[in-house]
Amino acid sequence: MTEALAMTGIVKRFGALTANDHVDFSAHKGEVHALVGENGAGKTTLMNILYGVLTPNAGTIDIDGKRVEITSPSVAIKLGIGMVHQHFKLVPSLSVAENIVLGHEPGKHFLLDLALARKQVKEIATKKFGISIDPDAIVADLPVGLQQQVEIIKMLYREAQILILDEPTAVLTPQETEELFKTIRKLANGGKTIIFITHKLNEVMQVSDRVTVMRQGQLVTTIETAQTSAVQLAEKMVGRSVLFRVEKKPSVPGKVLMEVRSLKVDSSRGIEAVCGLSMRVRANEIVGLAGVQGNGQDELVEAIAGLRQSREGDILLEGEAIHNASPRKIRDMGTAYIPSDRTLVGLSVNDSIWENMILGHHAYEKFGKGGTLDKKKANSFTQSMIEEYDIRGASPQAPAKSLSGGNQQKVVLARELSRGGKLIIADQPSRGVDIGAIEFIHRQLIAMRDLGCGVFLISADLDEIFSLADRILVIFKGRIMGELSSSEATIEEVGRMMAGIARDGDKKIDE
């Protein structure tokens, strides 16, 4: 049988780093092929080579048995390869049909035949693949899950035979994920080849026919999904077995460290993003805030950290209202904050690690008397942090950008947790870091809880929420939809709340 796709001996180097080291990857026609690996394992590089974004240093690609040279994405599209990126490339103000035909518009002499476009879209989506979507809907009004379907239909419209989906579930609710999986199956049954990049192993088990594991630029194995298990895949990904749920004792919550009372916060666009939200975090507990991205989490966290003004309501730290205090004051009151955007907010990537490590500490006497800065002390402090937090490949003088994502996050973690704060706000602490680092971060957060800190964990990843939180709050459209204790909560229940469906027999919030 001829493979729909065969990549042979692919090598891609970036300077000294070998991102793909003689990778042989192939996919059959009509299969869902999951591509898994930690961040930096080389999955995205490999797919970017296939999609013509990168040119390999060596290796060949065959499509349907024919040797091809893919020099650019437009060549890839002509060869029937489509890619759905993590960040959608749609025009929000245009309709579904307009977005789908964009770049390949039907019509004569510069005129767009929109009626034909609508008809074609309907035909492809509904008749061929059973995806129901209104071609006249404006993309901006659609939920994320449907926007993604638009992206997929766009690829189908261009007659893609091979579809690459780059971490497609990262932005979806569990229900939307289900829908996506149904679509994926239909497409595969219709003869399309689906390559599905992810690092969520339960999804791999659920949807794929075969799975390829990559580690450190090399292809570890390609195996039938039915013949493996999530645990086995995880071991192959990291080269050792991982504890998926970090062990932790039950929590004994203490006094209230942070209280939010009917808080209202506007987004940067002036729209009310947090709408009268109330919640509490106590000492000795981890409170997980689950929710689909964009439901007011960012605004809530920024208001607590002092980076965004609130309009109404109050935030109290140990009983003291902070009233839009400066970030400095809030830090001095004992707050540590791990921001979700590590490269823009949490670090100054062009600066050295020591400069990143002492921010917020630098005013202290230990880094020089009066206004002077004792670089030796800053360096030795940084060195001790590098050792304590096992930051690999780091030296105090090296720029922060020279570190991998996981190790960058450890710099943030070391800086924030070593300040002796009582309240720890961890916003997506393990986003974009490898499994080893995730485990480390989780252990640290639990250790801080056991030392008496209150941890407020915001995460889009339910696995993370379930494995860490003692109490789960679900946010939807700027409000807390409900509260569950993690021992009694189920993924389905949280998922429903994330989608805005209230719980039966509504429990009172934050008693």
């Binding site: 090598v11 970030p327 800065l373």
Partner: protein, 362 residues
Amino acid sequence: MEIRKLTNKKILIEIGRPIITIAIALLIGAAIIALMGEDPVLAYSMLFKGAFKGLGNIIATLQNTTPLLFTGLAVSFAFRSNVTNIGVEGQMLFGALAAGIVGYYVHLPWFLHIPLAIIAAGLAGALWAYIPAIMKAKLNVNEMVVCLMLNPIALLITGYLSSYPLKAPGPTNKTFDIMKTARLPQFSNSSQFNAGFFIAIALLLMFWYINNHTKKGYEWKLIGQNPVFARYGGINVERNVVQIFLLSGMVAGFAGAEQVLGVYGAFYNGFSPGYGFDGIAVAMLAKFNPLAVSLSALLLGALNSGSIVMQMMTSVTRDIVKVLQAVIVLLLAADFTLDMFLKKRRDDAAGRKKAKLEIEKP
């Protein structure tokens, strides 16, 4: 010195880049001179001799370097924090006027008079810089636009004041000659080289220390590198931006003081040939490092002083120096993009070579 350990290769790149930039500028200048029908080699040799041959020329070069040390420092200090103070020219003019006023109207022994006049100049410069500072911090108005518009306003206001209310009798639009007690000591009969040079060097060292060995210097660098990160870490970015602007304006004001107290002895309307703007070129060439400002100011100062001799000995106009300066600035501004271009080319070339080897191997 800096703790940062530079490998030999890195040092070579750091030094090599400005040298290549200057070399390219000189080549382009040579082409222009040749197009005008002159001998570039002769012109350049006159330029060099005019700048460095004999003690007299060297001293004249140092005199031409002095104002650029101040303005180059003022610009470097602000640009390092991403505060685009291109209003140094206007701030310098107000500093100069203040020095001229204090130098004439105040009567004090020299050891008080000189410092007072310099401080007045610094304050005047800072005050003029406060306008763009406060507009940026409070109203989020782009400081570049404000500075650009404030420069001609400063020129016209100081011009008016020195031509009407404060004008000394005589044909020239200038203020009264300052008291002898306010005069900065001069060291040569043939030029106006004065003690301001050493004040400038002291300032460079001071700002180098502030940048590298104080907490403020650390905060100011972070603000330039990533203001979001700085704010997140508890640094009051707005307040610090105002402080940076005030200090930069103060140094610009000192530049005016040196010109009035050390060179002219009075405020002359339109005395500056654009030292504030030349300061931008100096700062860019020095990569905003105060110590490197001394070298880049010397280069531009030498071009300025050498060009006088070149103009006398050949028929090449001294404006060619302005062309060289402009080319240097352009090349430095393009440096970033060029760098990326070269790197990409290198990567691709290396990639192709390796790919070939890979294919041939098996």
